[in-house]
Subunit: 424 residues, 2 copies
């Protein structure tokens, strides 16, 4: 016996095996009543709290390895768990348990002249693949949102967080299975071989949707290679257009908040468009500079304030995710719409104006997932939209756009109730 | 000058050029009011009627070439136009003009505690690519549905219908442009080079969605190669399960209709599951045989009627699209659900029963785009569902499922109306 080696599964075989067992578990999950799913998530939250010492010990292993491997301080910070962060993760799982379950909602219903009764009913999508980096909280967040909406989930975290992710999953799973959720409903790809990511991206028919969570290079790779539908955004090149009829104080407050509240989030403003007829551009610019923002402008912006650096051609297509902002002066709404049509990443774009007609035209014509009037682009967030929690923000055009929460993790089926109808 | 040859565009360059001009035209189209779009489609229907002689002459060229190239009679029939068929095409365009425009519909709206007013509003998807074969009516049908919902369309018809398609498009375009729709909103790929199809399938970011219309090999190629989202169904392996508590006369009528009304449509039943406890299986089988249907069954079915041929393993996964049906005897609802979960193409599956609990369980657990109780699967059709007209039936899980009509050709955006809110 000892001389016989066991056949070793390839990463693709591992992914296919897990996907098939995940799909089978999803069918069991789909039949669970709402209260059972909610109770399972509450049990999972409790198990996360109870496993604090194991999870923090596992996280310490990842942190030590990360330091040895020379991870940046920013990466180490994303990786780091402490009692407060872990409590936050458990609280988030509990909050998802409290959200309304979209599964079973009737989207619309009708009766045909022949007596057939039709209804469109929300159902889970099936098996969701999550591909993510460093932040171990994604393990719990994504699993909770997928399960709440009746989906099974196949997680593929970054190798730098492998011990943390395993410990979080073990705790989650102990709570979930105790409450009747099949174990295979939440699985973590065990191999760190990068070929497993490729196998997930290629698993059309086995994985129904992939959601990447991480930096731009990860999202770009997923979008380029996936044969499975992807829900994601690559860039958040968000614009704020200050219209000629903007209230100056409001324009300043919104611009400052949209850029400087948190510069690293996808809803942060990256380009400020100032109308040539807006009288207070100098004040907006001065406030941004005084707040420590680097401004890069076109010639007309620099004519307003010489502290603005010259913008290069790439600046209009750059997501800085930092205290840097490109600024252009535009001639009216038409020019602003044209600039946005050319450079927006279709994430979130805003106008500041007291002119209702200009506002409505901007709302109608800007072709982005989120369009705003007189508000900071930093509101682009599922929690701020009242969705409870978001699995991500999508800038694609199909299925779901903008903040995606539980409803975006469902699809629908047509139910037809007849009384013996045959088609003439 | 004569010695200089012009640079020749590659098929990919042609597709990219048309896609870019289509996208630009779509932005103009999106701003047209509902009445203008409807009027343009009515003008297009009128232009189709006025161009009858040109279109029939062009069609005669295709028919002659098809006969010379040895096309089958079935293919020639699909290709053939006559005054009645052409009038039907024009009528269909006019009917689409009369449908309600989904663009601008508010899906839902809410107000946040901070006063932000949110609404999700239907918008066109953008540029739709249609890849189709032989039937020239698709040129007008697909164009009308895309335009009605504010989308531009890039059509790629089969080479066997090239003259017919061009003549239909020319007539359509003359009506549309006279009514203010930009010419590039409806375009036909001019080259017959098959590389143009590959270029469309790869045009992520330029084409927003591809809809294949044609036989299984076309759909399979599109699904296998596309980098652009595809709305389609590959197979319609539809089941009818006759439950133990089915009404015998209803079961017979539904089975006959689901199989024999039209055998070549995707909603035709391909497998009949007879419950072992259903007392009238022999009658259902006899009626199907007497109607000229070839039955291929498992051993238990063949024990009921020896005229049933033995089914091979592939029969349970075969879409016959003919007067052929596979028949199995199953032990109860559970076994029927298991058979369907294993073999259904997730298009349309039906149960016949007088037992409400069994019906509801079937509706809940069968994971197909359309699930039916006590009705013929041949009702799986956008017109029968009251959608007016359908662009196709989708068996994928995302964006739209089952019959897809105007609403499925839209997406949404979030509109946010504020009064100066900044995020804390």
């Amino acid at each position: 016996m000892a001389s016989q080696s066991l056949p070793v599964e390839t990463p693709e075989q591992v992914v296919h095996r897990l996907a098939k067992s995940g799909r089978a578990a999803q069918r069991v999950l789909a039949a669970l009543p709402d209260q059972a799913k909610a109770a399972a998530l509450r049990a999972a939250a409790g198990a996360l709290r109870a496993a604090e010492s194991e999870i923090l010990a596992a996280n310490a292993l990842d942190l030590a390895a990360g330091e040895a491997n020379g991870l940046s301080n920013a990466m180490l910070d994303r990786l780091r768990l402490d009692p407060a962060r872990l409590a936050g993760i458990a609280d988030a799982v509990e909050q998802v348990a409290g959200l309304a379950d979209p599964v079973g909602q009737v989207i619309d219903a009708s009766e045909r002249p022949n007596g057939l009764r039709l209804s469109r009913v929300r159902v889970p999508i099936g098996l969701i693949g999550i591909i993510y980096e460093s932040r171990p909280n994604v393990t719990a967040d994504a699993a909770a949102l997928c399960l709440r909406s009746g989906n099974a989930v196949l997680l593929r975290g970054g190798s730098e967080a492998v011990h943390s992710n395993r410990a979080i999953l073990a705790a989650l799973a102990s709570g979930l299975t105790a409450a009747g959720v099949p174990q295979a409903a939440v699985q973590l790809v065990p191999t760190q071989d990068r070929a497993a990511v490729g196998a997930m991206l290629a698993a059309a028919g086995l994985i129904d949707m992939i959601i990447p969570r991480g930096g731009k290079s990860l999202v770009a790779r997923v979008q380029a290679d996936a044969r499975v539908p992807v829900l994601a955004h690559l860039d958040g090149i968000c614009h704020t257009y200050v219209h000629s009829a903007a209230d100056p104080a409001m324009a300043t407050a919104i611009a400052l908040n949209a850029k400087m509240r948190r510069t690293g989030i996808c809803g942060a403003m990256e380009t400020l468009l100032l109308d040539a007829q807006f009288p207070a551009s100098a004040d907006v610019i001065a406030e941004l500079l005084d707040a420590g923002c680097e401004l890069r402008g076109d010639a007309r912006a620099r004519a307003i304030n010489p502290r603005i650096l010259p913008a290069g051609a790439n600046d209009w297509d750059t997501e800085y995710l930092d205290a840097v902002l490109s600024v252009a002066v535009v001639d009216g709404l038409e020019a602003a719409l044209a600039h946005i049509a050319r450079h927006s990443s279709n994430h979130t774009d805003a106008i500041v104006t007291e002119d209702a007609a200009a506002a409505e035209r901007f709302l109608a014509e800007v072709d982005s997932a989120i369009v705003m009037v007189n508000a900071s682009t930093q509101f682009a967030d599922g929690g701020e939209f009242g969705l409870g929690a978001e699995i991500g923000i999508a800038t694609g055009r199909l299925h779901a756009r903008g903040p995606v929460a539980l409803e975006g993790l469902t699809t629908y089926k047509w139910q037809v109730r007849g009384s013996g109808q045959t088609r003439p």
